[in-house]
Symmetry: D2
Subunit: 243 residues, 4 copies
């Protein structure tokens, strides 16, 4: 399984001490390490960032990616539309994608969802509890119920997303808010998941249970069949007389 | 209730005799007549077409539209992206939309769904039977089960759409194909329905049961509250100490 | 619209002072008053209790009930199976039903859901916040987001229910738990909702927002068509040659 | 993986020549052979029938069954309620179950669904086409789209079931009817699927694609974790202070 971890890699390059303490080599590096640690030889992990040509997401890279993870926050608007369309086409053809935390407002997530993807937020060190409501779901395999995250940005409802195919996690925050923090959808032949825990200001991607969910997610989202384009096909009347 | 019926109005203007026999003043005119006939004074119907400035969908028109119906086929690519984004924003803020037949491949439907919206098709006078599988749903009110359409283009599965919030109709065709021909989704604060029966080559929009479904659809899709924009809101920690 | 409010009426008859302070004439009386207050002449409200013959749910009563509300807690096992089957058949034929709070463990709710309907609980005066996640849904009309309930029993996930057709409310509790506190399903031709806020030890059914949700619920759950039995029907091959 | 194939084994024992030509040792024998052929050493298949003590479904048998397949038709009423409750409890604790064809009217399926499970039918050698609408789903792995069944009983909508978690197959029949012929649900910790092709009067369980779906189904429905009972658990306030 080949995974590409995409990060806008912006906060980390501006010298913000808090961010650098948690993610000196970038959020993508920590996420990639977690996948390697948990999936071992089953996975080959690459990273890509906004500043690279074509944001590191050339046709070749996407063609050889089974699952793409997406982290962005402050530079959603700088992602080129052509690259967004390319990623969208790859998902439709079968590539899996996991969108993380502030990636809820990325162009690609809004294109996949068809909604505004807006939510409530507050960055004041709330405790987040991530409750599993689909105990059977692969995303929740091997994590405690709830996952306890001591300090995290609050994301609250109303989260403007389409009704999930599968609602896996609901979080509460110390301020009393709730959030659908883990959910899945199908789009074309590709599987999509969103998982909200994870922020540049907190060491959430070092949390072993969060790492476990991401590893579960890429395993769940990997293609079930060779990639193929869905097109409008003419279907002749005599199609079923096949002898 | 104020409804705007949008039609690309292309086939009808090119002198195709079959199309003109069924729709001498355009498909939109026949659809609009059906709504006026069935909804009477409850509805104020306008039409808009591709050739008009801004395709007839100026901010003023959209602001004063409760439900938009969308028919297009051969000129999807000519619809300006700026207008598509404007319609999308209106739906997110609460405007209802009904997408009809070949509108499955319109830019606005693909933006709302996040999928390719591809399907199988064959234009050879299939008989279509439209079965109600949600007898309780407002879209199906007052129509026989099944609706019988003597001649119609075949649309078949796989129809690449997200799992509907409500699957209301499933059609069969004389060639043996099946199709999820009536379905609903929420997007932002707006309600979306898709209904496939209806084609430029057949008099389907004169069919009394098809007219009934469209009238049901606009009634179902109308906004439930004043339009408002969904945004990312900061939620202070002390929000709930309201006394 | 004719509503029957069913209550096992057990806690109130045993002299528990806390319960009697909030519900001197029974929980059903307070719920019924709320419906009359909010729905006025649109509704005719009756009550029925466990101790009555056939628990007050004779065929005549059910035949003339559009929506049944169900509250029970300590005496689920005393409800006769024959009455449960009668209520189930009425729902299948189109009667609406709203199951309240500890009614999650009633025979009728388990029959409608097909699951165990188990959950976590704690009776220690938690503050409950009830967040709307389906702003468009009739159940949530006119209530603040969130509804704030100062003291309430905690109900927490995992709540073993089938995936709701519509998930309307999610609650958080001061202990950090979350709960899918308002949801809907279709069963046969009948509409079903569950709403968890409400307990014999707290004055929750006097809370104006809770009363509003119950009034919304009975309006939403009322039958859309005359009651009829669903049966296995033979469908002759020539059914569609209707001339 | 241990599978138990349950069959009421009634038609076959009454000397009906058509049935005996297709299923001389019983429908269960043919289904079991198909599973062994396709799953090989991955599966251990047993059978059980109505006439056996406790219908062959003792606690020991259920405890050692990962997935139960259920075929019944003429003797649903003879299945003891105590056995139905036992099967239901096993599903809630994690056992998978696949309900086949006329099993739609079995006690266990109605208990799992909470609906009437009624449908339309006609036994006149219709051709059935089984279309995949969820190409990603394990149930549809390796089967052509559509599966073509030359002769089969017609089952048509309205099929009174709860909205499926996943709708995998939709069938059409030569009479023009449609049917949701393959679908899944979760109940408790157990996975449930329904698959309609298969009848005592036609050799459908010898059809290689139908056999493939059944093999796919038992693989999909097997438990994801050790069996456990879901109960109402008290959750103390200090649960999360775990150090």
């Amino acid at each position: 399984m080949r995974v590409t971890v995409w990060n806008e890699f912006f906060h980390e390059t501006r010298g913000d001490e808090t961010v650098l303490r948690h993610y000196p080599d970038g959020i993508h590096a920590v996420i990639a390490d977690g996948l390697r640690e948990l999936l071992g030889d089953d996975v080959e992990v690459r990273t890509a960032t906004l500043a690279e040509p074509e944001h590191g997401l050339t046709p070749d890279v996407l063609d050889s990616t089974d699952v793409l993870l997406w982290w962005g926050h402050a530079r959603h608007g700088d992602v080129e539309d052509a690259v967004v369309e390319r990623v969208l086409a790859a998902v439709h053809a079968g590539m899996g994608i996991g969108v993380l935390h502030s990636g809820h407002y990325s162009k690609i997530f809004k294109r996949l969802m068809g909604t505004t993807c807006s939510l409530k937020w507050r960055n004041e060190r709330d405790r987040e509890l991530v409750w599993t409501i689909a105990p059977d779901h692969p995303l929740a395999e091997g994590v405690p119920n709830p996952i306890q995250i001591p300090e995290q940005e609050m994301y609250g409802e109303l989260f403007d997303i389409p009704t999930p195919d599968e609602l896996v996690f609901i979080s509460s925050f110390s301020g009393g808010e709730v959030f659908r923090s883990g959910a899945t959808w199908r789009r074309g032949l590709g599987r999509v998941f969103y998982f909200s825990p994870g922020d540049q200001d907190y060491p959430v991607y070092h949390h072993p249970d969060v790492r476990r969910v991401l590893a579960n997610g890429v395993r769940w989202a990997r293609p079930q069949a060779p990639r193929r384009e869905l097109t409008a096909d003419h279907h002749p009347r005599d199609w079923f007389v096949q002898g």
